[in-house]
Amino acid sequence: MSVRMATSVGAVPLANPVMAASGTFGYGLDLIDFCPPERLGAVVSKGLSPRPRPGNPMPRIVETAAGMINAIGLQNIGVEAFCRDALPQLRARGAVVVVNVFGARMEEYLEVVARCEREAGVAAYELNVSCPNVSAGGMEFGHDPALLETLTRRCRDATRRPLWVKLSPNAPDLVATARAAVAGGADALTLINTVRAMAIDAAARRPVLANGCGGLSGPAVKPIALRMVWEVHRALPEVPLVGIGGVETGRDAAEFLLAGASAVQVGTATFRDPAAPLRIVAELERFCETQGVADVRDLIGGLQWR
């Protein structure tokens, strides 16, 4: 039996439902020898800001039980270098490119979007709203529904391309933030970003990370991510969702689709296995085969419960 693997996230058609996540796949070209970007559903860029950022002091990562905490501090080459050095090559390879955008102020998000509007070959924008808004005393954009709605609307007004908002699991009310993003004009929601976390070195009586806290990712967060995808899907069944958090296998991907996601992203798994996103495409296809699922889209929201 051959399985139809094509899907879409709103208006963005994907050859298969597996994307490489933001921050774990470089700028899309770093792992071409293991995972050619054009063979994935899409690749999401590392979070881009208007200008290059050096990131946080070291140490920036620490492994924890079935997970890792990172405080990279959004180090990136800046949108200009991305458009000049990476995007043309990704375009030439035929990769579907999602640009992950962040800023310390609303204007910075708009600057990144405006710069990318001059380029062909961007399939969608994904707003990373898990960063502190310096203009509002450091409150994260994704934690305040009103602020999130305004940010999304202003980005919406700046582009006709599909706009995704990547939700933070740390927001006080997940469904309220999801609604706010949609009210602001988001075409799809990605969830989840990393879970705020901490590791402590007891002998040194210090936090392990130089930044104190960071974001937890990997298999440890998968149950949280599944629950969140399912909750948002139930509250907003018409909104396309992209599931992310601890996807390590094709079966994990299937779980996210069943919970209501139209596609998944693979993050930390790529650190363990540079071919993970591609392997997961093959595993998901095999899972469908053994389950007698002819079209991968039949899994989406297919959770049977009540």
Partner: protein, 271 residues
């Protein structure tokens, strides 16, 4: 550049080198080449504990009876290294290699090379030493450890150094073997008495690297340091391993390193 590969390897041999360190040979039918200073990311177990691969310098690669043998030298410090110590012969692991750059091994102006290893910093320098010996390039090898029992592979080191007319200098912190004190001090004493080197290649704990960077700045030595930043991916995509350079850039040491000329590193390395 040698193409990196993610290979299934089998534990072919293991030998204890000291109370805490061991040598492990990993075999694969696939061809694999590496340069001294390059490293491998090894999946030490199955499942999610440990989650991430561990970085180990390549201590040697040889082709024998249709197999490639990759040699590592490991100090048991935690979960991943303990799993490697206990993995039964024949157990399958995954090894992503070769990664990173390597040391500059060409002979230089103004004297032989100096190779300086502290503790478990030896593996990339033993690899370099045996390459240099095979190529007939002269070098002295400085080998430092806390105690005599932790001086690794001293006999192999002596043979390699002697092959091209060089010397092995051992130093232990407690004076139980070789010269008493730090290996950097042993190097400095020889520089004081007029010994000159074209280049100094170094791997060891951070305090030792700092001491060497300082020495390199003061005496205008051409020094290359192999750094050990904690690594998440080993392939440049997590940015967990960055090193600050003199020009202010933060670069992933897994990709632009792990070997850096001391002069390229930010000033705080040599302060």
């Amino acid at each position: 550049m040698i193409a990196r590969r993610d290979l299934a390897v089998r534990v072919a041999a293991r030998t204890d080198l000291s109370p805490t360190c061991f040598r492990i040979a990993l075999a694969t039918p696939e061809p694999l080449a590496a340069a001294p200073g390059q490293f491998a990311m090894v999946a030490c177990g199955e499942g999610f504990d440990p989650l991430l691969r561990r970085a180990f310098s390549i201590a040697g690669v040889a082709r024998r009876e249709g197999h490639t043998l990759v040699e590592l030298m490991v100090k048991e410090v935690g979960r991943g290294s303990a799993l490697l110590r206990r993995a039964p012969l024949g157990a399958e692991l995954r090894l992503l290699a070769p990664l990173g750059n390597g040391f500059t091994l060409s002979p230089g102006e103004g004297g032989p090379l100096a190779l300086v290893a502290g503790g478990i910093g030896l593996p990339p320098l033993l690899f370099a030493a045996e390459r240099l010996a095979a190529q007939g390039v002269a070098f002295d090898l400085y080998l430092g450890a806390a105690t005599a029992a932790e001086l690794l592979e001293a006999e192999r080191c002596r043979r390699a150094a002697a092959a091209a007319g060089g010397e092995l200098v051992c130093a232990t912190d407690d004076g139980s073997a070789g010269e008493a004190g730090l290996v950097t001090a042993a190097l400095e004493r020889r520089l004081e008495t007029g010994r000159r080197y074209a280049r100094v290649l170094v791997c060891g704990p951070n305090p030792m690297l700092r001491a060497l960077a300082r020495l390199a700045r003061e005496r205008k030595l051409d020094a290359e340091l192999s750094l050990e930043e904690p690594m998440g991916c080993g392939v440049g995509v997590c940015l967990g391993c960055v090193v600050e350079l003199a020009d202010g850039r933060m670069v992933p040491s897994c990709k632009e390193g792990p070997v850096f000329p001391a002069s390229r590193l930010a000033a705080r390395w040599s302060e």
